[in-house]
Symmetry: C2
């Protein structure tokens, strides 16, 4: 089924303990659309770049069969630029530069051919813009949204209105705690579900992810990465793999939501193995499936026959 | 099979957002032995208390059928006292008081009847004392050890000698990172395994636990707790459930080590539901087995038939 992705396209300069990437093609829409493209089509992108956006970036997305009709190119403008330096342990980063450029006045216009998209994935942009996107879509089947601390703190009213329109919210653990004003993640999930989204995904980086629905708590493991090269975009790759699998399978059962969390985690794990979007450049069906099974392998356990033994534990 | 537990016995004063416990019976040996007692017997305790240790504390351990021949009572001494205040999110605590008292000159003397114990669980005490215990045991089958930042930083040489004698090391994530001087937990596990223990368990609190062996990474989920009353002793309850299950099943296969991690996590989850050791006071076979299955339920997922589909993802 069709997926519409809206978010940023950026040129990222990133320093990690393992090297530096300069002006690498990035942004939430790039990562989400690329990851989703491994599961379903069409994947439709809405975003904006300047005249300086490299031809290679467009070709990368085209090669993944991503529909770029909704990509606005402001010839005399500059693409959104972001720079950051990751610390030794990769869990902390300093943002060195945020130049919004053409992204500052981004007005997401949905082409007619996109209006009947069934799955909508709203990358982390101003919640008012997220709502503007939804107003232009003809009854989407499912809306998946991301947000961040900045909007929770500065545009809370707008965000709350948007949350009312979102089916599945994807946030990280600190965002969940901030949004719910509750340190316990299970309770935070319940608080956020009362704000609108009926399904909450809480990403926990090296600790995996939680899926929280009315009935279920599902704890997905993290892939045991020994060589993370660049964590940039991991959350967006997760969202892309997640929505891509759901759109492919068109199945919102709890069992299938769990699989979607694992496919999201798998795509995130590939993404961080190389700089920028390179880790998502050339994945095969077998690689993705093997990684899905690896997630199963590291988290699987079974009862022992002794558990059913006739004598009491005590 | 027999389990010998050595560690501290303490009177803990704990403040959490949910209340206060004053001079509650605690200490690593208390938690470990109590948790282990739900799986196997005999459980033998080695430790020291002062004349002020309450009769109810001794009765609590006796009721769990714990062998107290190795419990030294220094009539004219005072029991180890510890006080702490937990913050709102329960992940951070301030230690308000550490009074070693009789624990300061603790000399673990192993009674003759304990010398042939098959499983030895060394609670978090001076690594030189941990070695002294091992010198008095007649070829234990498996030695399980705990340690903490204090010994890693102040007694590193002693700790390294003890690590050489330990089969299974249980540490938390910050201890693993400090001991290995490596932020990546999977790599840290490899570094620590080169120090002696062939199996490493890394406890991650609200994020579960990792089991690292030569062949395997196993990621155990955390139980989705909404009402943690007192986190004190969670790591020791984990160790007790872990060693208790292993001693009961006498099976060191990877599959059974995974089960032991889950039983450890289950006992830890019961322990934090009440103040002090009260959460471990009266568990039934069914409660423990139900919680084991709950851990399985929250982490289980299966492949979709689509995964095997004839068409490629891309």
């Amino acid at each position: 089924m069709s997926v519409l992705v809206v978010g940023s396209l950026a040129l990222d300069t990133v320093e990690t303990p393992f090297g530096t990437a300069k002006d690498a093609v990035g942004g939430s829409a790039t990562y989400i659309a690329t990851a989703a493209s491994y599961f379903t089509m069409p994947v439709r992108l809405v975003g904006v770049v300047g005249g300086d956006f490299p031809r290679a970036g467009v070709e990368f997305l085209e090669k993944r069969n991503i529909d770029l009709e909704g990509l606005q190119v402001i010839k005399n403008g500059k693409t959104f630029r972001w720079a950051a330096r990751y610390h030794y342990d990769l869990n902390v980063r300093d943002t060195l530069l945020t130049e919004l450029n053409v992204f500052e006045k981004f007005d997401p216009v949905i082409p007619d051919s996109y209006r009947r998209s069934r799955w909508v994935c709203l990358g982390n942009i101003d919640p008012a813009l997220q709502r503007r996107v939804l107003e232009q879509i003809d009854k989407p089947r499912i809306v998946i949204g991301d947000t961040m601390n900045y909007w929770i703190e500065r545009k809370n009213g707008d965000l709350r209105r948007t949350l009312n329109l979102i089916d599945i919210l994807i946030v990280n653990d600190s965002e969940a705690r901030l949004l719910a004003n509750e340190p316990n993640l299970i309770k935070a999930g319940r608080v956020i579900r009362a704000m609108g989204p009926r399904i909450i995904i809480i990403k926990k980086g090296e600790h995996g992810a939680l899926l929280l629905t009315e009935q279920t708590v599902f704890s997905a493991p993290a892939y045991p990465m020994e060589s993370i090269v660049d964590p940039t975009g991991a959350g967006d790759s997760f969202a892309g793999g997640f929505v891509g699998w759901l759109a492919r399978s068109d199945d919102l059962s709890e069992e299938n939501l769990k699989r979607a969390v694992i496919y999201g985690s798998a795509l995130a794990s590939f993404g961080v193995e190389k700089f920028g979007v390179e880790g998502l450049a050339d994945l095969s069906y077998l690689q993705i499936q093997d990684r899905f099974r690896a997630f199963r392998e590291i988290s699987r356990f079974e009862e022992h026959e002794l558990s059913y033994g006739s004598h009491d534990f005590s």
